[in-house]
């Protein structure tokens, strides 16, 4: 690991100033950053440690019914916060389907949003990768790309975004609160991560020195609490990234879908909201036929980027099944295997 200067600011403003130096990077828990630094993929000159900043570790119910999650709230604390998990069960399920208990105990909300792309070639400094060396090419294109993107990819980059949490948040219209030298701004999470295009090295809309200070869920997001699930298909049952995942949330009135939310993970370099699929469901009865149509619409523009055409059909099935699970109702207790297709929950439809 390359050496670096370590600084520990005491205010957000001081941190934002310290992070404007070229080569500076924020350190929160470091669960992804240290891994990347050990691999030699990320080589910061300066680490700006924000873990001691006050006031960023709260889950706050705001006056208008929305919820603000501080950037330094640990993934496990958020998932196990009873009030939060009751109102936003798909977010809690997504969080608990990700990583391991040890990592969730350390990893922060802000850090989860800023996880780097999932691609073995990105993690290997010896490989050609337009992310770590723009213009060098993409070894994933002709390499082992079974798990790569099927939506929104470009000739420059076919990696996927690793987060589960972000998928559920995007489905529920979460907003990212950002602070930088020039003040505070906010942006929908859906617009926070960039698709690769010709500049896969530009991963988010953050400007130099800007910091995520919080994530907000609007009051409407809690309207889906009775019918909200996260489903994640993996190569092994636990502690694995998604091959494909989906967050599904429904508002059902007298057996008819009044509102639907769908987002997919593991399919693109950002969490992928499927708005057309949502529209198809409005006014439909909550049964399997419209779920299949919605799933087809969700993948309408999907294209294999390599040896991964199977992911398109898999994603359709995962979307349809996530919708069926959501229609069946949010379980009283978090399933033993959160997000898993192997989770046994009695009394609901498990096959779309």
């Amino acid at each position: 690991m390359k050496n670096f200067e370590y600084v520990r600011p005491t205010t957000v403003r001081e941190a934002a100033s310290a992070a404007t130096k070229p080569g500076a990077i924020y350190l929160a828990a470091g669960t992804n950053l240290l891994d990347l630094m050990k691999a030699g993929v990320t080589k910061p000159n300066r680490l700006v440690d924000i873990t001691h900043l006050p006031g960023l570790d709260q889950i706050e119910d705001l006056a208008d019914g929305s919820v603000r999650i501080g950037a330094l709230v640990r993934n496990a604390d958020l998932a196990h916060d009873r009030n939060f998990a009751r109102r936003f069960p798909a977010v809690a399920e997504a969080l608990l389907s990700g990583a391991s208990a040890q990592l969730r105990n350390a990893a922060t909300v802000g850090g989860n949003l800023l996880q780097r792309a999932r691609c073995a070639y990105f993690y290997d400094p010896a490989s050609a990768c337009n992310k770590h060396n723009p213009g060098s090419g993409c070894d994933a294109r002709g390499g082992d790309n079974r798990l790569h993107a099927i939506l929104g990819w470009s000739a420059s980059c076919i990696a996927t975004h690793p987060s589960d949490f972000c998928v559920a948040l995007v489905a529920l219209d979460a907003v990212v609160e950002i602070e930088g030298k020039t003040g505070r701004r906010e942006i929908p999470l859906e617009a926070f991560h960039r698709l690769p295009g010709d500049t896969p090295d530009c991963e988010t809309v953050l400007e130099r020195g800007e910091m995520i200070v919080g994530v907000r869920l609007p009051v409407e997001a809690a309207l889906f609490a009775a019918h909200a699930r996260y489903l994640k298909v993996r190569d092994r049952t636990s502690y694995a990234f998604a091959i494909v995942s989906a967050a599904a949330a429904l508002r059902i009135e007298e057996g008819v879908i009044a509102q639907a939310r769908i987002a997919m993970g593991g399919v693109a370099l950002k969490p992928w909201r499927a708005r057309e699929a949502e529209q198809i469901l409005i006014g439909a009865e909550a049964n399997t036929a419209p779920f299949a149509s919605a799933a087809t619409a969700a993948l309408a523009s999907a294209k294999p980027s390599g040896d991964n055409a199977f992911k398109i059909e898999l994603a359709r099935r995962v979307v349809a099944r996530a919708l069926a699970l959501a229609a069946g109702g949010t379980p009283e207790r978090m399933p033993a295997l959160p997000g898993s297709p192997f989770a046994a929950v009695s009394g609901i439809l498990t096959h779309a």
Partner: protein, 165 residues
């Protein structure tokens, strides 16, 4: 700023000068403090052999920069027994053959203590397995590990924070 970190390790508070900001909690424990119980398996947060409990929470010490954890309370495998009296989780691992070669065992035990404190798994073996999925065992002692955790879970109060510290 000077690179020092004040840590309470197994009940003893000490201020440690770090000669390099790159030192992880794992390397600090093993290389500078002669606490070699926590193991360096993958050094990337994938195997769990380095699991320790920091401020009451199990974490991967290989992915924690020591300088950032200034002020933290650290519990390692060396701190869980009281003299010759083993911690209930240690006893249960022996009773249920929750180990073979033993390399992953300190991490498994610290993870199990953390799991029990978290109070999420109860008496459901599936929940125990899920909650222990961040600890790999190449000898495949998983059935014994699960039985050991379940047994301690059934005995109220055996693994509370006070008793392990």
């Amino acid at each position: 700023m000077s690179l020092s970190t004040t840590l309470t390790i197994n009940g003893v508070t000490r201020t440690i000068e770090l000669d390099d900001p790159r030192v992880t909690l794992l390397d600090l424990l093993r290389e500078q403090l002669d606490l070699t119980g926590a193991k360096k398996g993958c050094d990337r947060g994938q195997c769990g052999a380095c699991t320790i409990i920091v401020d009451g929470r199990r974490i991967n010490s290989c992915l924690a920069l020591a300088v950032s954890y200034d002020g933290a309370d650290v519990l390692t495998i060396e701190g869980v027994a009281q003299g010759n009296l083993l911690h209930p989780v240690q006893e249960a691992f022996i009773k249920h053959d929750g180990l073979q070669c033993g390399f992953c065992t300190p991490g498994q035990i610290m993870s199990a203590i953390g799991l029990i404190q978290e109070g999420q798994a109860g008496d459901d073996p599936e929940r125990v397995r899920e909650a222990m999925s961040g600890n790999l065992c190449r000898c495949g002692a998983y059935p014994g590990i699960t039985e050991a955790v379940l047994e301690v879970q059934k005995t109220p109060g055996t693994a509370s924070r006070k008793e392990v510290a």
